[in-house]
C-alpha cells in the first residue's frame, strides 16, 4: 500500500492534464490569496515601516542574518518557547512540505506509474506527520483551549487553516487506503478549501513569519533592539551596580520562574 502511487489508479478516470491543472490552479490561488492578504491588511506597508524604524544606524550584514533566520526560525521553528508547541509545529510543517512536494512529483512525473521510487512512501510519511502534529495541536496544544479554557470542539475562524489541512490530509490518506469516489470528492473539497481559503485563513503565516523573524534579528544586530532595554547581568560593569548588590554571589542561571508551569491557570 505504502509503495503504490495513489494517483496512478486515478489516471484511468481523470486525465493527467486535469490533475496537473488542478495543482497549478491551487498554486495560483495560494499566490493570489497571499497577494490579496498583503494588500488588504497592508502587511507589506507595515513591514517596511517597521523595518525602517527598527533598522538602526549601525551597518548590518544581511546575509548572515538571513542564513540564521532560515536555519533557526524557519527550519527549526525557533520562535516557539514551548517545546511541545515547537515539536508539534515541526511535525506539521515538515509533514506538509513532504506531502505537498510528493503530491506534485507523483502527479507530474509518475501520473500513470504505480511504482514511483520513494515518493509514495514520502507522501504517506508526510501525511502521517501532518495528522499526528495537527491532531496533537488541535486537541491538546491550542492556546484558546490550553490557556483560555475554551472547550476543545469550539471552532473559530483561526481554525480554518488547521482544520482544512487536517481534513485534506486525513481524507487523502483514507482515500488512498480505502478508495471510493465519495472519499475522493471530500478529499478534493477539503484541499480546495485549504488552498483557496488563504485570504481568510492563517495559511499565509508561512510567508509572513520568516519576514518578521528576519526583521527582529536585523533590529537586534542594528542596535535598536526594538527599543527594548539592553542592560544585562552578563556585563561585568552592570554587576557592580548598587542595585545588583544582592545578586553578587547568585548563580548566573537562576532557572525557570513562571515558565516552570504551562500557562493554563484559567
Amino acid at each position: 500500500m505504502f509503495a503504490v502511487n495513489p494517483f496512478a489508479a486515478l489516471s484511468g478516470s481523470i486525465p493527467p492534464a486535469v490533475m496537473q491543472g488542478y495543482i497549478v490552479l491551487m498554486i495560483v490561488l495560494v499566490a493570489a490569496g497571499t497577494l490579496f492578504d498583503i494588500l488588504h491588511k497592508g502587511s507589506a506597508r507595515y513591514f517596511f515601516e517597521s523595518w525602517r524604524k527598527s533598522k538602526g544606524s549601525r551597518e548590518v550584514a544581511l546575509l548572515p542574518i538571513a542564513i540564521q533566520t532560515v536555519a533557526v526560525d524557519v527550519l527549526a521553528s525557533g520562535e516557539f518557547c514551548n517545546a511541545k508547541r515547537r515539536f508539534a509545529h515541526l511535525l506539521t510543517m515538515y509533514g506538509f512540505v513532504f506531502y505537498v512536494v510528493a503530491t506534485v512529483v507523483l502527479v507530474f512525473n509518475y501520473t500513470a506509474a504505480a511504482a514511483a521510487s520513494f515518493w509514495p512512501q514520502l507522501w504517506w510519511l508526510g501525511g502521517a506527520m501532518v495528522f499526528v502534529g495537527g491532531t496533537w495541536f488541535w486537541f491538546f496544544i491550542r492556546v484558546d483551549v490550553a490557556a483560555e479554557g475554551n472547550p476543545v470542539f469550539r471552532v473559530m475562524h483561526a481554525d480554518l487553516f488547521i482544520l482544512s489541512m487536517l481534513a485534506s490530509v486525513t481524507l487523502g490518506l483514507l482515500w488512498a487506503w480505502l478508495g471510493g469516489f465519495a472519499l475522493f470528492v471530500l478529499y478534493i473539497l477539503a484541499t480546495t478549501v485549504l488552498f483557496a481559503g488563504v485570504p481568510w485563513s492563517k495559511f499565509a503565516h508561512m510567508f509572513f513569519k520568516p519576514a518578521a523573524a528576519f526583521e527582529k534579528r536585523v533590529a537586534e544586530a542594528g542596535g535598536t533592539h526594538q527599543n527594548l532595554p539592553t542592560l544585562t547581568r552578563d556585563d561585568p560593569e552592570q554587576r557592580e551596580r548598587h542595585s545588583m548588590e544582592l545578586l553578587k554571589d547568585a548563580p548566573m542561571d537562576m532557572g525557570l520562574g513562571i515558565k516552570r508551569e504551562p500557562p493554563h491557570h484559567y
Binding site: 508547541r85 483560555e148 545588583m244 547568585a250 520562574g257
Partner: protein, 159 residues
C-alpha cells in the same frame, strides 16, 4: 496607557492570558494571537508585558498627554534573575535601570506552609500577625538595618 500586542511578534503562547489580573488579555479568534480585549479596563500593571517571552506586548500612551514619542519598555530576564527598564522621555532623555527580581534560584526558597502546624488559641488571641516576630526577625538580634546587612545608604536614587 493600556497594552497592545505586536501581532507579528506574538507566538500565541498564552502567558499574558494566564497572568492578566483583569482577565482582559485574550486570544484573537481570527489569528490565534493575544490581544487586549478591553483597553479601558487595563490598569497598566505591566504583568503581561513582563511575562511575554517574545517581548510582543507594549504600552500605548494616550495621545493627549503622551504625544511626543515617550516609551517605557521592560525586559524580564528570569534566567539571570533581573528586570531591566528603558525609559525614554519626551525630551529625548533616556534612562536605563537594572534590578533583581529574585536573589535565589527560582522555586528553591518556597516556604512549606502546608507543613507548618496550625496556630494555637493563645496565638490566635495575640496581637501579633502570623509568624511575627520570627519573620521580621525581631528575635534574631533586633531590627535589621542596612548597615547590619553590609549595605550603605547613598544619597540619590541608585538603580
Amino acid at each position: 496607557m493600556p497594552t497592545f500586542v505586536y501581532m507579528t511578534r506574538c507566538d500565541g503562547c498564552g502567558h499574558c492570558v494566564d497572568i492578566c489580573p483583569s482577565d482582559i488579555m485574550h486570544i484573537d479568534k481570527t489569528y490565534r494571537r493575544a490581544y487586549n480585549i478591553e483597553p479601558s479596563m487595563c490598569w497598566e500593571c505591566y504583568s503581561c508585558v513582563k511575562a511575554c517571552p517574545q517581548n510582543a506586548i507594549d504600552m500605548r500612551g494616550y495621545a493627549d498627554f503622551a504625544p511626543l514619542g515617550h516609551s517605557v519598555r521592560v525586559q524580564r530576564d528570569e534566567k539571570k534573575g533581573t528586570i531591566s527598564w528603558k525609559i525614554k522621555f519626551r525630551n529625548g532623555t533616556e534612562k536605563n535601570f537594572l534590578s533583581p527580581i529574585t536573589t535565589k534560584p527560582w522555586g528553591q526558597a518556597i516556604p512549606k506552609l502546608a507543613e507548618v502546624p496550625g496556630p494555637s488559641k493563645e496565638m490566635r488571641d495575640s496581637q501579633l500577625l502570623y509568624n511575627e516576630p520570627k519573620w521580621i526577625r525581631m528575635d534574631d538580634g533586633g531590627l535589621h538595618t542596612l548597615e547590619a546587612a553590609g549595605l550603605k545608604l547613598k544619597k540619590g536614587v541608585y538603580y
